[in-house]
């Protein structure tokens, strides 16, 4: 009957829950039986005192009986596991020294892994906060030698109108930085133009108000903007009635039509605070007056692959080029297209970095496991007797193994909890102080992936180092172990061999990490000592972008900067001031096309060359030496003949070894103006620092004005203190003009190597941890070996061996293991460090100097770790040692 089956199942379940009650019931039942039997015996004539014992004897093994019944109830596995766990924890408590060392070791390993994995989880694993993010792709066009990641709008418009592979395709670009004024100090904010379908495609919508309508997204459309959550909170104090009101950007009025939610993350590596319609032309037209450059994101139709999308885009490009002039089409012939997932675009660069860090910290964990395994082995050998007793009481091999493993798991559990605490601390530290260029770093935390990871590696470590004593326990020589007072030799041998193996692997792992770290350190030092070829000390920079609405005429723009420079020169503490459109290290580089008079362009050069419009004092302020010719002067005004200064790289590229002085060049394409070269200056480096200085051409800002400039202020000392004063002077000239991106050149230099610094630091820390743990492991193994050989050492010393000889004897044993460890480590490093080559600058991954130096370092550390126990061995009193059995 089903009901009876269910009743039986119910009993089983009840059994699990009400264990104690059922235990009592079982006891009562048997007691009752015993009592009845006792009574019967007394009726049969057995004496009153004798009856209970007789009854019991007839009953048989009560304990066995109870056990059988209890096993029936299904308590078996769970109960024994629980018992083992409690026993394990008791044992740990009884050996506080061992437990402390083991738990700390494990905590270091697990904690470090937790920290790195939480970064990996936040950056690589966690999906982008858009709907169905795997179907979103990022499309770029690029020339093989130039890095270009944005797309001219005519191409985007063609793709939009002709594609067959995208569910939707959107773009962002333009707008840029604007001056937000009114209701407070003028502030410079970052805005971006987006096509009307940008937000719907990502699956996000404004929290308040609405998104853009198609009819708003056209040239000459209404001035509508959507604010980011942080701008709304910060500047407008979360005003709930802001939607529908006007704000002033670059002296123009815009209506706020929506506010984005706090959870929205813009799919780029910066955070715009304002969104406006991209207002791209309605149709693709290469010959339009202005050309916008946009970033393109699209959503693939279901079942469409990235390859197919790429092919489709190439087809559209080819088709559209038929309508172009032959020379233009020719120029585009080499243009390539790349389609990658949005996820990869956003995090692709750091993937390798993070994986390397994860591998490094994994090595640290392995070393920690080896250490604890070694400790366990020492303990297991000492417990040989206890295990023998268990075996003699009837415990099977599996039972003993299970018990040992459970004890290890208990230890791993403690280590895991400690590691969790360490990890949590590390994660919050990282969130505050982490480098900026790793996307999503601010969002790291303990999500379910991190927890799952912690549980997994805790179990992994427990099983890994738990296997060591199990291996030893499987070879118990019962009789001998019971008879001897100290652990038997055969088991000791296996244990020692395993410990030796552990020591060798620890050293190899530590060496690999040390070598990697050494390579990174050397590379970093090289990078940081790259001479930028100008003097970045004590220089403050601030950027200004003039609104074209207010300063439409180029002459007005120049006059503004001239005024500001005059005001700035009056500040105390200022040595010199200048302005430039793209100075080094600011990440800005405007380009122009260069043509030589009467000379064809040298083959293989691209048309665009970095161009910088400067005030005459520029070279003086940055201390860029003049190689030949002259600097700009204040006589090089608009009405004077146009002059240009070039750098050495330019001269070499365009004029080879001839002196370019007096040569004429045309800047700005076929409609540009001709300039005479009057001077050659030394090269300066731009970002990234590793690349060679590019060819550059300089023009005077009187003759080639620009509305965006960087103010350069060389202070006598402490440039940062001048920041407020500089801003004040700018406001004196124009009340509503903010400055932005205010830092010193020194800080820019430091920031430009921030990712390398982070890598080097992280890997260095991990290598340090590995070395410490490995040294501890070596010490442990050698100390134990010495303890084992105390008897032998006593004999030798009694027979006349000197201290020296004893030390040598002990060290010789260690040397062999150390040599193996180093050898294995070097081999491993040779195999693995090539993976680092993309992170290295100026250093080969097989750099012999690093390998040798690091190996020597590790040998020294290992020898020291071996020497200490060796020295202690010599302090032993021979008579004591001899008696030591």
């Amino acid at each position: 009957m089903l009901s009876e089956r269910i009743a039986a199942l119910w009993l089983r379940l009840k059994a699990q829950v009400r264990r104690r009650e059922l235990d009592r019931d079982l006891d009562d039942e048997l007691q009752f039986h015993l009592a009845m039997r006792e009574q019967k015996l007394r009726e049969q004539g057995v004496a009153a005192e004798e009856a209970p014992y007789a009854a019991r004897r007839q009953f048989g093994n009560v304990t066995r009986l109870k056990e059988t019944s209890r096993e029936l109830w299904g308590f078996g596995l769970v109960e024994t596991l629980w018992q083992d766990l409690r026993y394990g924890l008791r044992q740990l408590r009884r050996n506080p020294g061992f437990t402390a060392v083991a738990v700390i070791t494990l905590a270091l390993g697990i904690g470090a892994n937790t920290i790195v994995f939480s970064v990996v989880s936040a950056v690589l694993i966690r999906r982008l906060p858009y709907s169905d993010p795997d179907r979103l792709v990022w499309i770029t066009e690029f020339w093989p030698h130039l890095k270009n990641t944005i797309v001219p709008s005519p191409d985007f418009l063609n793709w939009r109108d002709q594609n067959q592979v995208f569910e939707s395709i959107a773009a962002y670009g333009g707008f840029g930085e604007l001056n937000l004024s009114g209701s407070g100090e003028p502030e410079r904010i970052n805005g971006i133009g987006v096509t009307w379908n940008f937000f719907p495609m990502l699956g996000v919508r404004p929290e308040l108000g609405r998104g853009f309508l198609p009819k708003e997204d056209r040239p000459g459309g209404p001035p509508a903007v959507i604010l980011s959550h942080s701008l709304w909170q910060r500047r407008f104090h979360s005003d709930p009635n802001l939607v529908g009101k006007m704000i002033t950007l670059d002296e123009k009025g815009y209506m706020v039509i929506g506010i984005m939610p706090d959870s929205f993350r813009f799919p780029g590596d910066w955070t715009p605070e304002l969104f406006a319609p991209a207002s791209l032309p309605l149709k693709s037209d290469w010959y339009a007056r202005s050309l916008a450059m946009v970033g393109v994101i699209a959503r693939l139709k279901p079942e469409v692959s990235q390859e197919r999308a790429m092919a489709d885009i190439l087809t559209i490009n080819r088709r559209s080029e038929k309508a172009l002039s032959p020379s233009f089409a020719q120029m585009r012939a080499g243009l390539q297209v790349r389609v990658v997932t949005l996820q990869q675009h956003l995090v692709g660069d750091v993937r390798l970095q993070l994986l390397i860090l994860l591998s490094a910290v994994g090595c640290v964990l392995l070393v920690a496991c080896a250490d604890v395994a070694s400790l366990q082995l020492a303990r297991a050998s000492a417990r040989g007797k206890e295990i023998a007793v268990r075996a003699s009481l009837g415990a099977g091999r599996w039972r003993i193994a299970r018990q040992l493993l459970t004890e290890s798991l208990a230890l791993a559990l403690l280590g895991g909890v400690a590691g969790l605490i360490l990890g949590a601390g590390g994660v919050s530290l990282l969130r505050q102080w982490g480098p900026h260029d790793i996307p999503g770093l601010k969002t790291i935390g303990f999500d379910r992936w991190v927890f799952a990871f912690i549980v997994a590696i805790t179990a992994f470590t427990g099983i890994t180092f738990g296997l060591a004593p199990v291996v030893v326990a499987f070879k118990p020589h019962l009789n001998e172990t019971l008879k001897e007072a100290r652990p038997s030799a055969p088991a000791g041998h296996t244990a020692q061999r395993v410990r030796g193996l552990l020591m060798v692997s620890e050293m190899a792992l530590a060496l690999v990490l040390l070598i990697a770290s050494g390579l990174l350190i050397r590379s970093f030092v090289r990078l940081v000592s790259v001479d930028p070829d100008f003097d970045p000390q004590d220089v403050l920079t601030e950027r200004i972008m003039l609104p074209l609405g207010k300063y439409p005429k180029p002459a007005q723009q120049t006059r503004f900067f001239e005024n500001v420079l005059e005001h700035l020169a009056q500040l105390p503490g200022v040595e010199s001031v200048a302005a430039a459109s793209s100075p080094p290290l600011t990440g800005v580089m405007s380009r122009t096309s260069v043509d030589l008079e009467g000379q064809p362009r040298p083959p293989g050069t691209s048309t665009s060359t970095p161009e910088c419009s400067v005030s005459p004092s520029y070279f003086h302020a940055l201390r860029i030496p003049l190689v030949s010719g002259r600097y700009f002067t204040s006589y090089d005004v608009e009405s004077a003949p146009r002059v240009a200064i070039v750098n050495q790289a330019f001269a070499r590229l365009f004029f080879e070894n001839k002196d370019p002085a007096g040569q004429r060049i045309r800047l700005g394409g076929s409609e540009g103006k001709w300039y005479s070269i009057v001077g050659v200056v030394q090269n300066t480096r731009h970002l990234p620092l590793e690349t060679d200085p590019p060819a550059e051409v300089f023009t005077s800002y009187f003759q080639a004005p620009a509305p965006y400039m960087t103010l350069i202020v060389r202070a006598i000392s402490d440039p940062a203190s001048l920041a407020a004063a500089v801003r004040g002077k700018v406001l004196e000239v124009d009340r509503n003009q903010p400055v932005y991106d205010v830092t010193t050149m020194q800080k820019r230099l430091a920031e430009s190597v921030a990712p390398q610094r982070f890598n080097t630091l992280a890997l260095g820390i991990f290598a340090g941890m590995a070395v410490m743990l490995a040294a501890a492991g070596v010490y442990g193994v050698m100390a134990y070996s010495v303890a084992q050989r105390t008897h032998e050492i006593g004999v030798r010393m009694a027979l006349g061996a000197q201290r020296q000889d004893v030390v040598e004897l002990v060290l010789r044993q260690g040397m062999l293991l150390i040599a193996f460890g180093i050898g294995l480590g070097v081999a491993g490093a040779l195999a693995l460090t090539p993976f680092l080559s993309s992170l290295l600058y100026g250093v080969k991954p097989t750099d012999p100097l690093t390998f040798v130096a690091v190996s020597l370092l590790l040998i020294a550390v290992a020898l020291l770790a071996s020497y200490l126990p060796a020295r202690r061995a010599t302090k032993v009193d021979p008579t004591v040692a001899l008696r030591y059995e």
Binding site: M1, R5, A8, D28, E29, L30, F32, H33, L65
Partner: protein, 109 residues
């Protein structure tokens, strides 16, 4: 006392179930009943009896409840369930067939 015969577990189950067909009993009474009815030939070891009783209870062939014994002690009483009844009949049939077959083998010269 003569050396008790060894009983196969399945046979013990059958005997217990048959005993309980006569009414509800506690463990001691079951053992006594079998001992008496078999004329002192079959003596059930407690080590076998109680595991058997618990096993049958878990399988749903017996149901148990606590009550007071003749001398006012707390005792666990077992009774046969409907499933137990059906199981007993099936086992009985199998047993009879087996006994007949063995007898035939032993009889033929």
């Amino acid at each position: 006392m003569e050396k008790p015969l060894d009983l196969v577990q399945g046979t013990l189950d059958m005997l217990v179930l048959r005993t309980l067909k006569r009414g509800r009993m506690h463990g001691y009474a079951i053992a006594e009943s079998i001992h008496q009815r078999s004329d002192d030939v079959l003596h059930i070891e407690e080590g076998a009896l109680y595991p058997a009783l618990h096993r049958l209870e878990l399988r749903g062939l017996l149901a148990a409840e606590w009550g007071l014994s003749e001398n006012n002690r707390r005792a666990k009483y077992y009774r046969l369930t409907a499933a137990g009844q059906r199981y007993l009949e099936a086992e009985r049939a199998t047993w009879d067939r087996m006994v007949l077959a063995i007898a035939r083998v032993m009889e033929t010269a």
